[in-house]
């Protein structure tokens, strides 16, 4: 309990080593002499569920030995809404609004994930324009999600400015998303077989402008944090997961890659034609909070690369598949022609039956691998809609990462996982 870690002159860091890499500050654990142990009892403290540093309604019961975390017992479920149960009572298109509310920081990507699964179940081919627009939606989601991560993590560790810069950029992306879907947070962007709307006139140009400016903000943030002594001291060698441990704990996304495992669903099980885009997947090597920061920052840059390629190739054409099973007739025809109206009525009231079968479709969401497991018995409502939630599995490793660290490191580690309680509790 008298252990105390000494950060060796954090502010006197030379910055980079001979190889040009940012220097890693050694963290030395040593018993401090002269301080008597006041008491050897362990302390039990309860953090949350309403606490700004737990990023939502996460509750941590922590057993402390002095300032050292002996045990962390996370309690989840405070935001449990029974989405999976609700999904069993809804048509496939009616489930899409529920996906908004799972990982609500990257709603468009969740919409795409569900639509892809339903389409594979029903055997629907989506159009070329829809595919590219969905890639744009996924990458914008990745960026806004990582922006929130970077901002809130920096605030947890004590850097307030980053939060403001990141949220300003996020606001710009939300303006674009609002122009496209009419909503900011709950986008409900996709439909089975297509999208709820095409992008408005001039939108691609505005996205291009934003893509040109955005990397500068990332560079500014990097200038603030990359070699900042306090940042290095708080993040390096904190919350380490080795590659083998990360695989054993089923981590995914940036958490897995920061530990040195080069697995990205976009590369390894490509969907939406991701294999035809030119982008890199950043991989860390130490598996600590600092490497997670590096990985996420680089992922945002790569997302901008993908966005620019997607804008370059965005073809004209319809956004909805030419499949009358799932696509509603145009509104004008609905008002003038009886058959279209019956078609519309039956599709909305009875839903679209999916063939008997099941699919598991993984996508690379900002938080990690979001899997959608759909089981159909041939009716218009799924028998089982299972979300494989990346945050749920990532936060399950929190006790493993935090035990033995200081209480203040627990906050940094928890922040580095990038959780969204909506998705963990569902």
């Amino acid at each position: 309990m008298a252990e105390r870690r000494v950060v060796e002159m954090a502010l006197a860091t030379p910055g980079v080593d001979a190889a040009g890499r940012p220097a890693r500050i050694p963290l030395v654990a040593q018993a401090s002499p002269g301080e008597p142990d006041l008491k050897t009892d362990h302390m039990l403290i309860n953090i949350g569920p309403q606490h700004p540093a737990t990023h939502g309604v996460l509750r941590l019961v922590v057993e402390l030995d002095g300032e050292v975390v002996v045990r962390v017992i996370p309690h989840i479920g405070y935001l449990h809404s029974g989405f999976e149960k609700l999904g069993e009572y809804r048509h496939y298109n009616q489930i899409i609004p529920l996906t908004d509310r799972t990982d609500y920081l990257s709603a468009p990507a969740n919409n795409v994930a569900f639509a892809l699964a339903a389409e594979r179940l029903m055997g629907i081919e989506i159009t070329e324009r829809c595919t590219v627009l969905r890639v744009i939606a996924c990458e914008l989601s990745r960026i806004i999600s990582h922006l929130v991560w970077a901002g809130t993590t920096a605030i947890d560790i004590g850097a307030f400015t980053v939060f403001l810069w990141m949220f300003q950029e996020r606001e710009r992306v939300y303006n674009l998303i609002e122009e496209w879907t009419g909503a900011r947070l709950t986008t409900t962007l996709t439909r089975v077989g297509g999208l709820m709307a095409d992008v408005p006139e001039g939108w691609t140009g505005r996205l291009r402008e934003w893509c040109a400016k955005f990397p500068k903000t990332l560079d500014e943030v990097d200038r603030m944090l990359l070699r900042n002594g306090i940042w290095l001291g708080r993040t390096q060698d904190v919350g380490v997961m080795t590659a083998a441990e990360a695989i054993d704990y089923s981590l995914s996304g940036p958490m897995l890659r920061a530990s040195g495992v080069a697995f990205d669903v976009r590369k390894d099980h490509p969907y939406l034609g991701y294999d035809s885009y030119d982008f890199e997947v950043p991989v860390g090597e130490h598996g600590d909070v600092y490497d997670r920061y590096l990985v996420r920052m680089e992922e945002m840059r790569q997302s901008v690369r993908i966005l620019l390629q997607a804008l370059d190739r965005l073809p004209d054409g319809p956004i909805n598949a030419a499949d009358p099973r799932v696509i509603l007739p145009p509104k004008q025809r609905l008002m003038s022609d009886m058959e279209s109206m019956i078609h519309h009525f039956k599709q909305v009231m009875e839903g679209v039956p999916a063939p008997v079968g099941e699919v598991y479709v993984p996508v690379e969401n900002p938080k990690g691998e979001l899997g959608t497991y759909l089981v159909s018995d041939g009716s218009a409502k799924p028998v089982r809609w299972r979300i494989r939630p990346p945050s749920f599995l990532n936060i399950a490793a929190l006790p493993k990462m935090a035990e033995g660290h200081l209480l203040s490191d627990l906050i940094a580690i928890n922040a580095s996982v990038d959780i969204v309680m909506g998705e963990i509790d569902r």
Binding site: K85, G123, E358, Y360, P362, Y373
Partner: protein, 208 residues
């Protein structure tokens, strides 16, 4: 669905090695699904993880499926992935409705199974033998309406709203803290006497 995709070769390996313990297999929408006998499932999953030609080192998901057809068994579903070979395999274990809903835990094979199995227990009532800490996870400790994702569980819950409110207001410490936490260090001594007594008496029978 047209299933042009070939069957995952792991199934042939499983049949050659475990024979009758490997049940029917199928290719559904391009993915291979194979059923295993419940009593040898743990051994077979361990082999799938460790055999050099299989190496399913990454557990993607554990969940369960109950069908609307009441005659069909409940299925525990494992999604496995081999990162080295970039292959996926879906394992199912059938649990007939009449029998015990019990399978062996795989937490000793993949740590990631810890919370996934707890969630499956919480939502479906499937017990995982050998799980180190099989508690409810999304619902609270003292939740007593049953298992929400079972088909016989009504969408709005079993209890009336007023009963739900009554129970929520009457919830004690044990709804919010696990037994383990309440006994940590001196927190235990500062508990009210009646709670301490209750915990002490419950701890004997707490082997769920």
């Amino acid at each position: 669905m047209s299933d042009a995709a070939p069957e995952n070769p792991s199934v042939a390996g499983l049949r050659a090695r475990f024979g009758a313990a490997v049940g029917p297999s199928a290719v559904v929408a391009g993915a291979t699904v194979v059923h295993l006998a419940v009593d040898r499932a743990h051994e077979i999953l361990a082999w799938l993880r460790d055999a050099p030609e299989e190496r399913y080192d990454y557990l993607v998901d554990v969940t369960a499926v109950e069908y609307r057809d009441r005659e069909r068994p409940l299925e525990v579903v494992y999604q496995l992935r081999s990162l080295a070979r970039n292959a996926m395999l879906r394992i199912k274990i059938d649990l007939p409705k009449g029998g015990p809903l019990e399978v062996d835990s795989v937490v000793d094979l993949w740590h990631g199974a810890d919370w996934l199995e707890r969630e499956t227990y919480d939502m479906f009532g499937v017990r995982f033998r050998g799980h180190p800490d099989l508690r409810r996870i999304l619902m609270w400790e003292t939740y007593s309406e049953g298992y929400p994702l079972r088909k016989d569980f009504p969408l709005r819950g079993r209890f009336s709203r007023s009963e739900q409110v009554r129970r929520a207001l009457g919830a004690g410490l044990d709804a919010h803290y696990s037994m383990e936490e309440l006994t940590i260090a001196d927190a235990y001594d500062s508990l009210p006497a009646d709670v301490r007594e209750r915990l002490a008496s419950e701890r004997g029978g707490a082997e769920r």
